[in-house]
């Protein structure tokens, strides 16, 4: 199933690289081009990781179904665009409520019962297994529903570019980057300034203390999961003009999102964006100078190095539970 993913990335990158072959250019331009595309792509990676970092920060559980949620949201956006023919970015009006409800009820009906059951277990892996189950289930369920076809919505943005000197920048990629910046900033402000945002942060810091302060912890969990999936929904929507929609499309972003969360730090919203850009740049440069498949392997290697340099302490995971 991952061969297909690599294929998707390849298709994507050859689309992007295709523009470059038109002119002969010197090494600096190639480097700048790879760097710029890496930064822009990294913005999208950061957006995909935003939901994961929020959910992780509040509940201390890893949502293994993260990539699957992204894939589901991509399908939602794809069908909205395909059936109504509206601008892909306008489909957010539909996608955001769908994403919120999906997240809210996943948490409420499936995750919370296990969290309540495992309240006194030291290393809770029940939620991890449950979300891993959801991951495998929905990937294969969407395969059953929509088949293994690669779908791509024809939008007015697909394949359009800006030119900055001799560097060509894909328009939807740039828009995606801007939306990613806006979303990150909005979420950051939401968590910092609003009452609800403070309640979410308080729950993330200390569940028991938050409960004593009169916060309904499990409702906060529901909301946090909902907001996390909304971030995923936005990411899925901005990906529509760029990527093929496919039952396993989310898996490409899955392990990257984990890497980014580890790089950026627990529950840190700006960290997710920064980590995303770091990963995007490394991947783009490795893809430019080595090969795309080795760039994918490099992601895992970075991930392992980051995990081992600060084993488990990086999030203070041991203290939780």
């Amino acid at each position: 199933m991952l061969v297909k993913n690599i294929f998707i990335i390849k298709v994507f990158f050859t689309n992007m690289l295709g523009f470059r072959c038109l002119k002969e250019r010197n090494d600096t331009m190639v480097f700048l081009d790879a760097l710029l595309n890496g930064v822009l792509m990294g913005g999208i990676y950061g957006l995909t990781a935003l939901g994961l970092t929020l959910i992780f920060g509040v509940m201390k559980v890893i949502n293994f179904a993260h990539g699957t949620h992204l894939m589901m949201m991509m399908y939602a956006a794809y069908w909205v665009v395909e059936l109504t023919g509206i601008d892909p970015y306008l489909s957010l009006i539909v996608v955001i409520p769908v994403a919120y409800l999906l997240g809210y009820f996943t948490q409420d009906l499936l995750v919370n019962p296990i969290l309540k059951k495992e309240a006194d277990v030291r290393e809770p892996v029940g939620v991890l297994l449950l979300t891993a189950g959801l991951w495998i289930f929905f990937n294969n369920f969407f395969l059953l529903l929509f088949g293994a076809n690669f779908r791509s919505a024809e939008t007015i943005y697909s394949g359009t570019t800006f030119s900055l000197g001799s560097i060509l920048v894909s328009k939807p990629l740039l828009y995606a980057f801007i939306i990613s910046l806006i979303s990150t900033y909005t979420l950051y402000r939401f968590l910092k300034t609003t009452r609800l945002g403070r309640a979410i942060r308080a729950t993330g810091q200390d569940r028991e203390a938050a409960r004593l302060m009169g916060i309904n912890v499990f409702r906060i969990y529901n909301i946090a999961f909902g907001v996390g999936i909304v971030a995923v929904g936005i990411a899925g929507t901005v990906l529509i003009p760029l990527f093929y929609v496919h039952p396993f499309a989310g898996d490409v972003f899955d392990i990257r999102a984990f890497v980014i969360v580890v790089l950026g730090g627990l529950g840190s919203v700006p960290g997710a964006l920064l980590g995303g850009i770091i990963v995007g740049v490394i991947e783009s440069l490795a893809g430019q100078y080595f090969s795309m498949t080795w760039a994918a392997a490099l992601i895992y290697i970075i991930f392992l190095i980051v995990l081992f340099i600060r084993p488990s302490g990086i999030f203070g995971f041991e203290k939780e539970g």
């Binding site: 199933m1 991952l2 061969v3 559980v61 890893i62 499936l110 019962p113 296990i114 059951k117 030291r122 290393e123 809770p124 892996v125 029940g126 991890l128 297994l129 449950l130 891993a132 189950g133 959801l134 991951w135 495998i136 289930f137 990937n139 294969n140 369920f141 395969l143 059953l144 088949g147 293994a148 392990i255 984990f258 498949t293 080795w294 994918a296 392997a297 895992y300 290697i301 991930f303 392992l304 995990l307 081992f308 084993p311 488990s312 995971f317 041991e318 539970g321």
Partner: protein
């Protein structure tokens, strides 16, 4: 009161032995009743999965961590024995042992850094390792003049009925070989569970800090368990290569297989002796039959849908796994050890 309950558990235990012996006799006699190669193949796969999940159980069950990359070790075993067979004509019977040892060594190299991690981090790291091993194999066509064939995989040359080269004319032979392996692994699980190692592992799995404060070197014990586990994974990988006569990275070093192993063990009941076997006897036939009767790319994942929905239900309603039904049957008073 106490007397009667202990009497009851003794009689439950003896009935358990009778039950076990009965099942063993049935398993030994199965090839007499099942003549169809298809169904015998399913029986072989059930036992193969039972072996894999039992080996997984050393680490995933007793030691209480959650490895999600165990297919890597089976893949390493399969590749080592197959490469030895193709390139130097070494019999897979010997290659199997070498493959197992190589798997165990790789497991140690992976285990030393990863066992510092806990919970979800260990699971993620184990996935990252199996995926990077797969990517390396997929992108290697030739190394030191040995053809690995990258993503295309390796075909094992046909030798006809050659027991010395681990190739048989009929499925029956494979059936008895895998039955022997499963019984061996089951016996070793039993021995480990009753040994100091088993107690250390359970103690470390339940509370690592408490166990360490009592002087148990938890990481060291986990490493031993992982090495034993990887050794048997390697041997079973070789068995699979000799049964199917074709291996390729996405088939044997895959995340899907790793997840299947973990899911079967957890649905059956992780950390118990018979849970993994029960799990594979229930789930593998479902998977194989759905594969037999539902073809087409859409239905490729239907058995995985089945596994994952069962695991979601098990996590929600029966965290001890399906074996806990039997536990309740034999120990109605709630002695939670069928171990």
């Amino acid at each position: 009161m106490i007397n009667s309950s202990s009497k009851k558990s003794v009689s439950a235990k003896s009935s358990l032995y009778i039950f076990g012996i009965l099942i063993l006799i049935i398993l030994l006699c199965i090839p007499i009743f099942i003549k169809s190669a298809n169904w015998l193949q399913i029986m072989i796969l059930i036992l193969w999965y039972a072996g894999l999940t039992l080996s997984w159980n050393f680490v995933g069950g007793f030691a209480g961590v959650l490895p999600l990359g165990h297919a890597a070790y089976a893949g390493v075993g399969a590749y080592v024995s197959t490469l030895l067979f193709i390139n130097s004509g070494l019999s897979p019977w010997i290659g199997m042992i070498i493959g197992g040892i190589v798997s165990a060594l790789i497991a140690l190299i992976i285990g030393i850094p990863t066992f510092k991690l806990h919970g979800a981090y260990y699971a993620l790291a184990s996935i990252a390792f199996v995926e990077s091993i797969r990517m390396v194999v997929e992108n290697t066509n030739e190394i030191f003049g040995i053809k690995v064939n990258g993503a295309r995989g390796l075909l094992i040359p046909l030798e006809g009925h050659a027991p010395i080269l681990f190739q048989f004319g009929g499925k029956v032979y494979y059936y008895y070989v895998i039955l022997f392996f499963v019984l061996l692994i089951l016996f070793i699980s039993y021995k480990i569970q009753k040994s100091k190692l088993g107690f250390y592992l359970v103690a470390g799995g339940e509370d690592q800090e408490a166990a360490e404060s009592l002087g148990v070197n938890v990481t060291y014990q986990k490493l031993i368990a992982l090495a034993i586990s990887a050794f048997f994974m390697g041997i079973l990988g070789t068995f699979y290569a000799q049964l199917i006569l074709y291996i390729y990275p996405l088939g044997i070093i895959s995340m899907v297989l790793s997840f299947e192993i973990a899911f079967i063990a957890i649905i059956g009941g992780r950390g118990t002796l018979f849970g993994p076997i029960l799990g594979s006897f229930i789930l593998v036939p479902l998977a194989e039959i759905s594969r037999m009767y539902l073809s087409g790319s859409r239905f490729l994942g239907i058995h995985l849908m089945l596994y994952s929905s069962i695991i979601i239900l098990v996590m929600l309603y029966m965290p001890g796994g399906l074996i806990s039904i039997f536990e309740r049957l034999f120990y109605p008073r709630g002695i939670d050890k069928l171990r």
